[in-house]
Symmetry: C2
Subunit: 152 residues, 2 copies
């Protein structure tokens, strides 16, 4: 079973009905290489399903988020972008040039937490880590641009 059907099944088990707007929204989310804002999702959905309403996008996103299927990706300027959720010890790694976002395992943070707990007295029970950088593709593009500049 592909991911899209998996999500639909989870929705159904939660008592939701499977509708074409929902199919389209899930499709857009799953196939995007980067986090998207609600309005971007709306625009992409409109291409495949012109009649869709922005309100339906918001309502579906709310459902998906509360079911833990999607998650906010935070950036300096805000936190309105959404992506399929990370699970377990996974965290996002965001390309600051093109936005391409992937997940990585961050399971070696235990010692940091222990150290922070003993130095602050806080009881740490949740953490939130995101890395920013340049993806392989954008590194190559930069090289191309640089060599162009060199020759100019």
């Amino acid at each position: 079973m592909n991911r899209s059907n998996h999500w639909l099944k989870i929705l159904q088990e939660d008592g939701c009905r499977i509708t074409s707007p929902r199919r389209v929204i899930i499709d857009v989310l799953i196939n995007s290489p980067r986090a998207l804002q609600p309005t971007e999702i709306y625009a992409l959905c409109k291409e495949k399903h012109p009649g869709i309403g922005l309100v339906t996008v918001y309502r579906t996103l709310e459902r998906l988020e509360s079911l833990g299927l999607i998650q906010r990706v935070h950036r300096e300027d805000g936190c309105h972008m959404l992506m399929p959720a990370a699970d377990g010890h996974e965290h996002y790694l965001v390309c600051t040039t093109c936005g391409r976002t992937i997940l990585f395992e961050g399971d070696d943070l235990g010692t940091l937490f222990t150290r922070v707990e003993s130095s602050t007295g806080y009881q740490v029970n949740e953490h939130w880590l995101q890395l920013f950088g340049t993806c392989p593709g954008c590194q190559d593009n930069n090289l191309l641009v640089e060599s162009k500049v060199d020759h100019a």
Copy 2:
């Protein structure tokens, strides 16, 4: 020189004028034990300077943020809360019960970054870490509440 005057000096060096609304806003930010939303800052400022306008609060916050003096603190539901900025390798540790937020040093993340770089091909150049937990005060309160419940 106290922190408040330090901030005022930085503003002045950037070509800003020192006004009483700005003094009050800075005072509120520096003396809060937790991150505040713009409207909360506005309300607190009004106590000391009733004539102040919400617009001035927004404008001053924008200045302070762009000068790197304050920073957004992100939470599950949003990222509209502001605190004096962390510098260097510092990160926020937020109490999920009362909001009390402190800074801790997170300088042992180098090995994680190296590992992620070699496994993903991304070039990591910025990271973002926040911890959530229970502060010492709220741990004590929980104990009190629990023992009350036990005796009931």
